[in-house]
Amino acid sequence: MRHIFEEGLALLRRRGVVSVILAMSLTVPMALAGFTTSMGLWSRPLVALESHATVVRVLLHPRMDVSQRQAWIAEQARTHQDWRLSEIDRETLEERLQVWFPYLEDLLEGEHAIELPTLVEVEAEDPEEVTALAEGPTVIAVGPTSSIDRVLGLMARTMTWLLGGISVILLVSAFLLAATWIHLEVYRNADEITIMRLVGATESAIRGPFVVAALIPGIFAGVAASVGAWYLVRMVAVAVEAVGLSPPVFPLWLVAAEIGVGVILPIVAALVTMGRHARAGETD
């Protein structure tokens, strides 16, 4: 084991500059992946807004009397058990309308006072279902079904998926980078690997130094990526705080995850590449 570690270090020393370039090349996609993950986590609470119930307002025909209105409400409540229906009394409705239409007061009083329709508020998980009520003869109109919460939630969900997808692409590119580097190193050392096989080195003795030589830049890349991602998140946090929103944070577990990825990616890349090389050199 010690021998394998020493050989790995010797390989690293021999290819010092290339190893530093590998570490830096791994750092960039891993730091961006850490950043996008942090931003995805930050936007997650907004995703929940999308599933919040929306209140849709329904206007019933003014000619409906109390018993008809109550029967209609009871019928809807029975049909749609997840809805919460509440009738807005006339005084409240008048108050609300007069905020927007001050001249309404005159229209509602006097000999030719207009008759206000009945307003029913429907709180539903899926507001699109409420729009179907507009087809009934008793309903004059159904209010808008979109809400700012739902729009924000939808945007946040899209952003989470997008950032998650970008993170995965960045990590795959980091993996391919490490695999390509090891592939080139293996072929650069193909003669030596062949000689090692011929004099009785086992596969683990041959692969071990390459794994060590890839692992050490990977660990450095993990640490550097954590610092880089933390810095990017901090920059966004400062900007977000300036507009009074809750800032994103770079969680501690992501540091461990970055280093873990820095360890795992090169190991897997080394094993896959060396395995392919071993199969190719079957008789050596």
Partner: protein, 222 residues
């Protein structure tokens, strides 16, 4: 130690070895000679499984080498010291490291491996070059490093492909004497050579290969 049954090797339709049968007992010293292209190197390559036979079987130390798993083959190769015709030295390692590294992956500690490697290099007159890289060595020196590497782990079988090809007469004589000592200690030795002076200097079983067939099997001269 070595058993070949109907061993055949073909490259691009050209038959290099044509159904060779051979038995070599443990502790034997064997020369393999013949003209260039007779199949000497191919036969050795089949013995350490750098090549696979087209037909027939190869047994070394009781194991059929052409059917071994990669891991078992590595373990078998540790019992076989090979002196390659083209030396096959690791160019990034010093002379001492070239000999040491085979001892290290056989489980020897760094200190023991260095001590044993130094002893073998000293025996071959190369201890003063232990820190040199192969590229600065002469052909003869490189050949002796390759020999030192093959001898360092005291293998039960030594296969040498033209081991004196780059050595002067004195060094060739010393190498032969060294191989005799190792053979006397019980190792089986097979030397492929076209240097007839070696065959004359050392009375041993000699195989003459001709166009992929064993033309002669007996003592030298035929």
């Amino acid at each position: 130690m070595i058993r070949l049954r109907n061993l055949t090797k073909t490259y691009d339709g050209r038959r290099i070895l044509r159904g060779i049968d051979l038995q070599v007992e443990a502790g034997e010293f064997l020369f393999l000679t013949g003209a260039s292209g007779a199949g000497k190197s191919t036969l050795l390559k089949l013995l350490y499984a750098a090549e696979r036979p087209t037909a027939g079987g190869v047994w070394v130390a009781g194991q059929r080498v052409d059917q071994l798993s990669r891991h078992k083959l590595a373990l078998l190769r540790r019992k076989v010291g090979v002196v390659f015709q083209d030396f096959k030295l690791l160019r990034h390692k010093t002379v001492l490291e070239n000999v040491t590294f085979v001892l290290r992956f056989q489980g020897l500690g760094a200190r023991d491996a260095h001590r044993r490697a130094y002893q073998v290099l000293k025996r071959l007159g190369l201890h003063h070059r232990q820190s040199a890289l192969p590229e600065v060595l002469s052909g003869g020196e490189q050949q002796r490093v390759a020999i030192a590497r093959a001898l360092a782990y005291q293998p039960r079988l030594i296969l040498a492909d033209e081991p004196t090809g780059n050595l002067d007469a004195d060094l060739a004589g010393e190498l032969l004497s060294l191989l005799c000592d190792i053979n006397y200690q019980g190792a089986t030795i097979m030397v492929a050579t076209h240097d007839h002076s070696l065959l004359e200097a050392m009375p041993a079983r000699t195989l003459i290969l001709n166009q992929g067939l064993i033309e002669y099997d007996g003592s030298w001269p035929p």
